[in-house]
């Protein structure tokens, strides 16, 4: 187990180094510098700006400096907003995004898994058909459509929910559903099909032949096996919620990381773009590691020593 984690942390480091390098290379491959405007800046101003952001240094030097900064946890200043660092933007935005994202992940798992299980146990009965009808609908609606739909129906027409901001718990309902809707449907479908497959297995028949009650057969023998593919999906789930936050934060006007990211796309704030991407990469890689460890704990066939 210990060696497994050490190995994974090591390959995580390589992945992150590559991600930083590629992001850095891409950002510096953009034609024209960050300060290329429709109206050219005076050469002197340009020079001063380049000096301020170390852009007058040779590229390798900039890269080494940047890498050093990232290792120390410093993602540099924003190009477009004077006096604002990328770290500060993340400090401001991440807690907000994490709260909404975390709630969405909880919603997805707490609702999605039981719905999938009930559907599988009630296969082809009305409960199953209703749940799968909704889930199929759920995976066809993109988060931006779901989000705007919620605003239009529940804020504009019915006036039940506030449409923007995060002042009370009511403000969270819309964004959390918009963010989790797709994944919730996906997890419900995944759990159902996984459960149905597991219930066909020989070891379930063995468990029944031992005289165990249906509750133990399903709750102990089937569930743990059925959850294996669901756990594998948690990594991609976090990634999906994270990217989903780009549009959901835009629609509900929430000042989270996603909003900063989309804004920096709009005004070509390369350091912010680069910094947030790298932050996301670190976050995701750690999440994937946690998922892998959980996976190994559930499924003993995964050899932790390799």
């Amino acid at each position: 187990m210990g060696r497994f984690i050490v190995n994974r942390v090591f390959s995580m480091g390589i992945t992150l180094l590559l991600v930083i390098t590629i992001t850095f290379a891409l950002m510096h491959a953009i034609p024209g510098g960050p300060f290329t405007r429709e109206k050219a800046l005076p050469p002197a101003v340009m020079k001063a700006l380049e000096a301020k952001f170390n852009l007058d240094q040779p590229l390798w030097r900039q890269y080494v400096d940047y890498l050093g900064g990232v290792i120390k946890g410093d993602l540099g200043p924003s190009f477009q907003r004077t006096g604002v660092t990328v770290n500060k933007l993340i400090e401001e935005g991440f807690p907000i995004s994490a709260k909404i994202g975390g709630l969405s992940v909880l919603l997805v798992l707490i609702l999605g898994v039981p719905i999938g299980i009930i559907s599988a146990l009630k296969q082809n009965k009305w409960q199953d058909q209703l749940a799968m009808f909704l889930a199929t609908l759920g995976v066809t609606i993109p988060s931006f459509v779901l989000g705007t739909l919620i605003i239009y129906i529940f804020s504009a027409k019915l006036g039940w929910l506030p449409s923007y901001g995060l002042k009370s718990w009511k403000h969270y309902i819309g964004p959390v559903i918009a963010l989790g809707g797709f994944s919730l449907s996906f997890v419900a479908r995944l759990t159902r099909s996984s459960m149905l497959e597991v219930l066909q297995q020989d070891y379930i028949r063995t468990a029944r032949a031992k005289g165990l009650s249906e509750f133990v057969v399903v709750g102990k023998h089937a569930l743990k096996n059925a959850l294996i593919p669901v756990v594998t999906y948690v990594g991609p789930l976090v990634a999906a919620i994270l990217t989903g936050s780009f549009v959901v934060e835009k629609i509900f006007a929430i000042p989270g990381m996603g909003k900063h990211f989309v804004e920096s796309v709009g005004n070509r704030d390369y350091t912010v773009l680069m910094g947030i991407t790298i932050f996301y990469a670190i976050f995701l890689v750690v999440m994937v590691l946690l998922v892998d460890i959980t996976y190994g704990l559930i499924d003993p066939r995964i050899k932790m020593d390799e």
Binding site: Y203, T206, A207, A209, G211, N225
Partner: protein
Amino acid sequence: MRSERLLEVKNLRTSFFTHVGEVRAIRGVSFYLDKGEAIGIVGESGSGKSVTSMSVMKLLQYPGRIVGGEITFNGKDITNMPEKEMQSIRGNEIAMIFQDPMTSLNPVYTIGNQIMEAIRRHQGLSKRKAREKAIEILKLVGIPSPEKRVDNYPHEFSGGMRQRAMIAMALSCEPNLLIADEPTTALDVTIQAQILELMKNLKEKINTSIILITHDLGVVADVCSRILVMYGGLIMEEGKTEEIFYNPKHPYTMGLLKSIPRLDLGENKRLVPIEGSPPDLLKPPKACPFATRCPYTMKVCEEMMPPYFEAEKNHRSQCWLLHEDAPKIQVDTGVKRGSIS
């Protein structure tokens, strides 16, 4: 001394209600089993032998259902017994081992956990006591260093060891009846012999009755005192093991015997396969199901279902050839007397 009946199945009929129609997997099967006795049910795949065992266990999964007949176990009619009561019989009084030990054990729980589960369920032992018992029974089935192996997961066991573990699990509550559904089919030949030997020994030790289900007549010869030969959802022939081997009355049994590979067969003698395939039980034939493949088919065979003819005491066969008006046939299956123990 008259031995006691343990299991009596009368005119059992089981069907699967699929979307294409009713598949009549078992069409009226009757047999019995005495305490301490071992019988074999033999037939090719699709003959209904596994469905018979699942019916006795009342473990048929949707869309399968018992549609008629009576199952009496230990004097109790279990045909319509509620599921809750049935659960206290399963694994406790009737236990079962399955064909494929690779897939029949739950991969995410330890062997010990899976054995203890049955013990705790039926005997209400504490965790520690159940564990001790699990180790004891693993030792009994010949698992080396059982106190360590009890904490292994199934994937850490070899195929033969897994089947031993399955047997340990089945025998953990000392059941009156053990149903073994093709327990050796998925194993290597050498392991097969070991597992059969183990089952024979354990049968003596804990006085369990056994129903051994297999497609391989060679497997039952050693363990069982009586054999039922099934085909097309019916019992074609039933008799003592020696009777079935040396004096088969049904052409299907003869065919099965001719197709066993044997060392004592001369080099120029070939195995004789049974041509054709089993009947479609969606539209079961109204007369003898074997008529399409039988080398001795007569007109009557395609017209009327044969009744059981008693060849000797306790030896019956569902074949028109045993009728007094039928032509007499002479068959050499190649099985020499004294060739089975």
